[in-house]
């Protein structure tokens, strides 16, 4: 158990989530990718707290922020899907590209 191992785990989770967020067409699946990215962030913050500065509580505060971001991301994401679906019957990112031009 070392800082590097934990950070590598965090980086792996982040990159898997990034892959999902970039590739998935379904908006719900895209949000799952974002959740995975934030999960990686949480592991990284916890590892930095434990291995570098355990005396200060700032690392823990960072985790609280990441958890809050997860909750906000999910709530707003589902609200956006609901709004998009009501307006255009769209649940896929490629179909919601009116602003492209």
């Amino acid at each position: 158990m070392s800082l590097e191992l934990f950070l590598l785990l965090a980086a792996a989770l982040f990159c898997i989530g990034l892959f999902g967020a970039l590739t998935q067409q379904s908006i719900v699946m895209l949000m799952m990718g974002l959740e995975l990215m934030l999960g990686g962030l949480i592991v990284g913050a916890a590892a930095v707290w434990h291995f570098i500065a355990p005396a200060a509580a700032d690392g823990q505060v960072l985790i609280v922020i990441a958890v809050t971001v997860m909750a906000v991301e999910m709530a707003v994401g589902f609200a956006v899907i609901t709004a998009l679906f009501r307006a255009r019957e769209v649940d896929i990112t490629d179909m919601a590209a009116e602003l492209r031009e």
Binding site: M1, E4, F6, L7, L8, L9, A11, A12, L13, C15, I16, G17, L18, F19, G20, L22, T23, Q25, S26, V28, M29, M31, M32, E35, L36, G39, I42, V43, A46, A47, W49, H50, F51, I52, A53, P54, A55, A56, A57, D58, Q60, V61, I63, V64, I65, V67, T68, M70, A71, V72, M74, A75, V76, A79, V80, I81, T82, A83, R86, D91
Partner: protein
């Protein structure tokens, strides 16, 4: 020794479940895979000695995935995965980007001169967190509270039937959408 084994088991499980999220056809299975991955994240946080935050993550993820499953069934065209289908775009480009990002992160992680561990964890990290949030980090806490309140308002506004971009007659006071939708002046 035991902590090492726990770390590796949780890490492998987290990464494997994370990969499976985007490989399962069934949306229900994808949700459970994501739940597994995030529960392992919570386990790693517990392993690092953050009991309270680890349990918060475990509880929050369980409930979050339950809600996510409901939305899955509502919005996905193939929730049970009965017809195999892939709904991805630009998978190769994304894979290249992710590999480059991971390589860059791993290089940074392995080459950075990480500082020595400074200080010892407090006897009760939860108390330290609480004292910090109610003391020096009060501004952070208030900002988070404000952001959560704004989220409540924003989600309700977005999710109500009468949207921001629907036109409800000339005086905007009708009870049903007139025309194809769009801006208020149309």
């Amino acid at each position: 020794m035991l902590t090492d084994v726990t770390f590796w088991v949780l890490a492998v499980l987290a990464i494997a479940a994370g990969v499976m999220v985007f490989r399962f056809d069934s949306m229900a299975r994808a949700t459970y895979a994501l739940l597994t991955s995030l529960l392992c994240v919570g386990g790693e946080v517990l392993l690092l000695g953050l009991d309270y935050l680890g349990v918060v993550i475990v509880l929050m993820m369980t409930i979050e995935m339950a809600i996510m499953a409901v939305f899955m069934v509502m919005y996905m065209m193939n929730p049970a995965g009965l017809m195999p289908m892939t709904m991805v775009h630009n998978a190769k480009g994304a894979a290249a980007i992710c590999l480059v990002v991971f390589a860059a992160l791993a290089t940074g992680i392995l080459l950075a001169p990480w500082p020595e561990r400074r200080g010892k964890p407090p006897a009760d990290p939860t108390k330290a967190l609480g004292m910090s949030l109610m003391g020096p980090q009060m501004l952070t806490m208030m900002t988070l509270g404000m952001a959560l309140f704004a989220t409540i308002v924003g989600t309700v506004v977005l999710a109500t039937r009468r949207g921001r971009y629907d036109r409800f007659g000339d005086d905007l006071g009708g009870d049903h959408v007139v025309g194809p939708g769009g801006g208020a002046g149309r």
